[in-house]
Symmetry: C2
Subunit: 215 residues, 2 copies
DNA sequence: GGAGCAATCCTGTCAGCGGCAAGATTTATC
DNA sequence: GATAAATCTTGCCGCTGACAGGATTGCTCC
């Protein structure tokens, strides 16, 4: 991002000498940047270190291995997503409108943070996430659950709440991933633009809202 | 799968001598098996060759590189999915019931072919799929579109058909991927069993059907 | 202020990987 | 049965992630 200044002191900025100063954050940011560049889906730790002007062994002092770095990215992603959903939950709207707004926020998050989303969800079920990552993801799911409960109404059965929750979630989740997956039908029919996608999301959300209301 | 017979002639079976006999098919099958074993998400070409009792250079005579092998797996997956959806389309049911059946078939396919699904959808948008892969995926989408059109009814507008199509698709797609992603809320609330998942799918599908009907 | 210590970073090394080239072996074709 | 094509092997290359051991820096406490 910012050019490295040869100056030594200043604030804990970027590369100042032997010590980088803020390598952990730089690693995360640059890794995300690499993943978002021209639709890549992988990156090399050594390449990452190279771009930051650091030796290939440096990252290991901040992340025990590559999986740990990916987990940290996923945690950041869940944090951003949870924040976005909680913000939607706080909007002064009707429960149904709040649910629709949260769906739009979900898709918008995926469009603007494709690397985070891929890292959050694409990984193998074998490797367990860290506690921090788990906490943030539970916070995000908690916000979603609360939104769905409000939309289902106070007298809704658990089964109904469950159905509303997963219908809402899976719709926006599926739409987001299909959008990220390249030149498939979702990108085609929405004109390949974010506005087109959001219009499609609005249509689908409206239909879901009708389904919840017609329950 | 089947044990290698030291016999030489027979049918084009497995490993008979210098020539494998059916290496291409074996590579695909074993790669899928490796990807489905203990929730892995990657595999090594050399390991694959090793398991088939073949040198590390052999696969290159059937797939130009690893991406080509993955593309072939994806093509198989889209073929299977298209077959399943076309079968659902041919069921003697009402349009809505056919759409629900196709949704169940979609999820069932994902549960029984996790490696295919991951390969079909997880890849980077940068690398272009082969023509064969593209054809099969278009066949699958065509079946889905036809199902949605029938469910929307003969007088439905293009916008409505589009909304129904993507609401149905994204729901089952999202549900499938969330299921494949490990121990998230989807697996938790559905008891971790396929039956539990299918019950959840039925609930969500019913709600979607109501949404289509209430249009 | 400086000695000790922990944090951070570097260099060197290792096995494994994907891809390529050149040669060996088998099968198919005429 | 000779020739060509298909298939498989071996050997090599650069790259990768992980690890070990040493260098440099910054912090703490006396």
């Amino acid at each position: 991002m910012a050019a490295k200044k040869p100056k030594k002191p200043a604030k804990p900025e970027k590369k100042a000498g032997y010590h980088h100063g803020d390598l952990r954050r730089s690693l995360l940011a640059e890794a995300v940047a690499m993943l978002e560049a021209d639709g890549r889906v992988e990156f090399s730790l050594r390449d990452l270190a190279r771009r930051l002007g650091v030796s290939h062994g440096a990252p290991s002092h901040h992340f025990k291995d590559k999986a740990a770095l990916l987990d940290a990215i996923a945690e950041d992603g869940f944090r951003l997503l949870a924040d976005a959903l909680e913000a939607a939950r706080a909007l002064p709207l009707s429960p149904n409108a709040r649910l629709e707004a949260s769906g739009a926020a979900y898709v918008k998050f995926a469009v603007h943070h494709p690397a985070h989303v891929r890292t959050m969800f694409g990984k193998a079920p074998s490797d367990v996430p860290s506690d921090g990552c788990l906490n943030e993801s539970m916070r995000a799911f908690g916000a979603l659950l609360s939104l769905a409960q409000d939309a289902a109404g106070p007298g809704a059965s658990d089964k109904d709440v469950r159905a509303v929750t997963f219908m809402a979630w899976s719709s926006v989740h599926g739409l987001s991933l299909l959008w990220l997956d390249g030149d498939g039908p979702v990108r085609m029919t929405s004109g390949g633009t974010e506005d087109g996608l959001m219009a499609l999301v609005a249509d689908v959300s409206a239909m879901i809202t009708r389904a919840v209301g017609a329950r």
